[in-house]
């Protein structure tokens, strides 16, 4: 079963990469762009076939390693 974990910086945590992309988009003429935030997408292939259990496993992985919850939030989705 495939799951997708999306990790994003929490609101209030500086995201200089997002800011740099925002400025570069402005330079390219995309002037109507608001705030840009960058994060990570992690795909997991799990042996588990039960969606609820697979999601619980992925959430535990995110809490223990994939995200640093001091600065990041995460979202788990079934692919």
């Amino acid at each position: 079963m495939k799951l997708i974990v999306t990790v994003m910086p929490k609101n209030g945590v500086l995201d200089p990469q997002g800011k740099a992309i925002e400025h570069a988009l402005g330079t390219l003429g995309f002037e109507a762009v608001g705030e840009v935030r960058t994060g990570k997408v992690i795909e997991l292939e799990l042996a588990e076939t039960d969606p609820a259990r697979a999601r619980a496993q992925a959430e535990e992985m995110a809490r223990k390693l994939l995200a640093n919850t001091v600065i990041e939030s995460f979202r788990v989705e079934l692919a």
Binding site: V13, L14, P16, Q17, A20, K40, K64, L65, L66, N68, V70, I71
Partner: protein, 232 residues
């Protein structure tokens, strides 16, 4: 004092650290590989040196913080052991939960390789006892992710408990925004654990411990800890 330096794949400052420790203690520190599951008997100080452990994959220090040797370091710290983390070592200690907060990408997005001035914010620790409070000293820094971040509650606690060890300051000892090159919260360059026995800092005191290196500004840190643990 028996010091142990941890070596992760991608660690590259262990030799500088060994020189500094040897200079302060007269004893050669042990080097321990990341896959070990226990510390040598009689270990007084564990040191996590700088580098790019595991290629900085996922987040700086994230992989190293979950390596086998860190379980032993966690037990050692829980028993009141002394731990020093410099640069990547500081990042590993925050990722391991042994120090609060996190190190973000430098606000400028630039890798910073230059000298900085550090102001000693507390002498009430085994790592800073040989300085005077408010004294400044020079330390080289070399990092891309040294922007210290913590939430408001953590910052208030660090301040109230006198756990900020060093702040980035200018030559006059003022903690200005200009001196805060990486954008760290409250100019924080180094912090102590609750029991004051764990220190994490971004700049490299081990790189200025001999006149041949261009100065001895960093030596008081190693003399402090050697003095504190000499009778231990």
């Amino acid at each position: 004092m028996n010091a142990v330096i941890l070596l992760f794949p991608g660690t590259n400052r262990e030799r500088d650290m060994a020189i500094a420790l040897r200079k302060a203690t007269g004893r050669k520190p042990a080097i321990l590989f990341h896959q070990e599951t226990s510390l040598p008997a009689g270990t007084d100080l564990v040191v996590l040196p700088g580098g790019f452990s595991h290629g900085d994959y996922l987040r700086c220090g994230a992989m190293a913080a979950r390596s086998p040797v860190m379980a032993a370091v966690r037990d050692f710290a829980a028993r009141g052991g002394h731990v020093l983390g410099v640069c990547n070592g500081f990042q590993i200690l925050t990722e391991a939960g042994l120090l609060p907060g996190a190190l973000l990408r430098n606000a400028s997005l630039r890798f910073l390789s230059m000298d900085c001035n550090l102001r000693v914010e507390t002498t009430d620790s085994p790592f800073t006892a040989r300085w005077r409070k408010g004294e400044t000293f020079r330390a080289p820094m070399a990092h891309g992710d040294g922007n210290y971040f913590c939430d408001d509650g953590t910052l208030a606690r660090l301040q109230a408990e006198d756990r900020v060890a060093f702040r980035y300051a200018d030559a006059q000892g003022e903690a200005t925004a200009e001196a805060n090159r990486n954008g760290a919260r409250d100019n924080i360059a180094g912090i102590l654990s609750e029991n004051r026995r764990i220190l994490g800092m971004m700049p490299h005191p081990e790189d200025l411990v001999d006149p041949l290196m261009g100065g001895t500004d960093g030596l008081p840190l190693f003399e402090s800890i050697a003095g504190a643990l000499a009778t231990a």
